[in-house]
Symmetry: C2
Subunit: 251 residues, 2 copies
């Protein structure tokens, strides 16, 4: 059984996954380093509350969201239901952490008397968050909650996959916009003098784009897609027969 | 012949393509409107030279690049070689227009004595431009220049498609960063007062993201992929036989 499972994992996949995780962890560490070294660190009850926003968003809507998409490639030989639950759970963690990040920035703006939701970053951010929530609810209703007919699941699956990847890429884009905003607000003219903070943040931006690219590559490689397990195929056939109105034993 | 060609075009595809073109043209028009209404228009020999940069980049590296990717979906019943040449030509137009946009910004910086290549936007921009050039040269060598073995073409094709889509998405992201930079430099604190220029540019940013999403959707719909024509399949088999060292008539 274990030999069979190992044999069905493409040889290069683990290296690509390891590389994506290295990128993702470096990304989170570097965001922490940026905030710690140049922005005074993180605290909830002070001006440092703002700094919780970029860290939560990078952990939740970039790193964890990206990893949730990879679950079907990594756990390719586990039972489908286990993989589904893990996929849904990782997205819940991502959503909760992103919510903390959202509360941080709105609370900070309120205390400072700053205007909300005027920038392109904030518009994209709200769009991402709403789409992410809708996608999670739709995914839960169709794939985890029992009762959705097999034909409906099959028709929704490609849309779920497309919008999942798109929301992830939009999250990466929104993070880049936010990083740029934070740099221009605080560095101003010093940005063009190649200040260490500016260079670090530019490298962080490139890492964000690379992580997005790595996750997209692993997701879209046709020969790395999760194969259907034998019992899933049998189950699907049963579902199909049931939803088409016949009993499994008819004919 | 014509009836057969029409029958093999998926019913919804033309509507999605039309929608993407509507988005793309609105994007170009709105970039022109933004530069005309709030930035004094475009001219080469003055301070307005900078404005040629965003317009050229949106036309070349967003609109034309996006359309070049869609060529295989739109011209699905033409000869493969014609479609290939059109794909390559659209990318050449995009590259030349982007080059004019690059010269505009470097020339403007030189005249003004501004520092080059310090921002995240410029780093991403140079990365996109180099990747785009390499991708074009590799695509030309493998697919248009005669002589590349069939097996090599088959192995490179998925990489070409993945990097094509990725470079396009990175172009859209870089445009968003540039737009944000232009807004923060010129509007400053007025951005948060919902100035008309800020709102227009935010809408432009959302349109950029939507155009990227629409092109990606059309590209990735599995049932909208270009079908192989009968004569291409025969030709492929010939190539395969030849590159595997047998003459077509053997066996």
């Amino acid at each position: 059984m274990e030999g069979g499972a190992a044999a069905s994992t493409p040889a290069a996949l683990p290296y690509y996954v390891a590389f994506s995780q290295l990128l993702g962890l470096t990304l989170v560490a570097m965001t922490g380093a940026w905030l710690g070294l140049y922005r005074g660190g993180i605290a909830w009850e002070s001006d440092l509350q703002f700094n919780a926003h970029p860290l939560c968003m990078v952990i939740g809507l970039v790193f964890l969201q990206g990893d949730a998409l990879l679950v079907y490639r990594v756990f390719r030989n586990e039972a489908k239901r286990t993989t589904k639950v893990l996929h849904g759970l990782l997205h819940v963690f991502a959503l909760v952490i992103a919510l903390v990040g959202l509360v941080a920035v709105f609370d900070y703006h309120r205390k400072k008397g700053y205007t909300d939701l005027y920038s392109l970053h904030s518009w994209c951010g709200i769009l991402v968050f709403v789409l992410y929530l809708v996608q999670w609810l739709a995914g839960f209703s169709f794939f985890l909650f029992p009762g959705a007919p097999f034909s409906l699941r099959s028709r929704y699956r490609p849309q779920h996959i497309f919008f999942g990847a798109t929301i992830f890429l939009l999250s990466v884009g929104t993070a880049l916009l936010g990083l740029k905003e934070a740099l221009l607000f605080s560095l101003g003219d010093k940005y063009s003098a190649f200040e260490p903070e500016g260079v670090l943040a530019n490298v962080l931006g490139l890492l964000l784009a690379c992580f997005g690219g790595a996750v997209l590559y692993i997701l879209t490689r046709a020969d790395w897609k999760r194969p259907s397990q034998a019992e899933e195929q049998a189950l699907s056939m049963d579902f199909k027969t049931l939803t088409e109105g016949d009993s499994p034993g008819s004919q």
